[in-house]
């Protein structure tokens, strides 16, 4: 996987500063009133797997595995749970 690697704490600070700009993180009136403000991250392009899905047999998945309730939680004292 290609990824941007942060090599130093200075770079990390720069990254976080940039993130603030990207996310528009200051709370706005619209957020307080219950609507939301979008970031500029593009997640709108169709995933390649949507195309592949046309050939899917849903029988491949077994839903019964979760008939029994299973809860997954991460706690400070049990990191990685």
């Amino acid at each position: 996987m290609k990824a941007k690697v942060v090599k130093s704490s200075v770079e990390l600070v720069a990254l976080l500063t940039a993130s603030v700009a990207v996310a528009g993180v200051n709370p706005t009136k619209s957020e307080v009133s219950g609507t939301s403000k979008r970031t500029t991250i593009d997640v709108s392009r169709p995933h390649k797997d949507f195309r592949r899905l046309k050939e899917i047999k849903s029988d491949d998945l077994d839903l019964s595995i979760y008939e029994k309730s299973v809860f997954f939680e991460a706690r400070e004292d049990i990191r990685g749970q």
Binding site: V6, L15, S19, V25, E31, I56, F72, R75, Q81
Partner: protein, 265 residues
Amino acid sequence: MRLEDQVKADLKNGSWVALDLKLRAERAIVKKLPGLLGGITEKSLAYYRKVDVRSERFPKGIREITIAWISECPRLKLAVENIVKESQPGAALSQFSPEEVCKIRLAYSTIAHVDQKTAQELGKSATAILKCNGVRFRSASHPHIMGLILLGPELFSNSTLEIAVSLIHELAHMELMLINMVNRLVNEEFDDHETFAPFQSRSRPPIARLHSLWALYRMVQFQKMAGLDVSRDMNLLKENAKAFSEGELNEMAEFLVELTMKVGA
């Protein structure tokens, strides 16, 4: 190619498979409940809990975090609280503060800066993020409300990066929940075989230990991409990988364990 082989090939490439399998799970549910609309959360709630929340419009997607919607979705609120109360009796959903919304957005942006593909997977796989008070967990998820990420109040005392890692952690749980629908991973006779996990100081069944391992794997993978210190989580990962007894895991699960060990290489 069998779905299981395709999942293996994708994982071997370093790709996430949560989104692909989420869509397949939605199809599988609709096959059982024809005509059922909504996303994976609505569908899993309808299928497993017989709760219909389709009439309630809640903010969709990890980017659509708002602070005042929960009181407008009483059915969803009740259903989620009932599920969480099975584990944590004092649980109650609440609104995020504006500052908490900012922190989540910042964490998501950080993920996108580190790896756009992971951010896309998270943005498209996660249905919504909810705040849960009266709980001990920092973050949590459940297969009957697939796609929802629950965050506890404790999480917000952490740094943005730690919140980002927690979001990755929950996406990893969702991914393994879905892989578990493709393959049961644990040999049936060992389903309830609890083994003492030293670093967690308690006994846990194989599927829970596998979830720990998988969440750690995705966390370490992300932290390495971000250039962060992974020594603590890497050690936990190695300890976790050793916590399986012979015969507990099937071939697919063994493949996953091997994959997690390569993240440190």
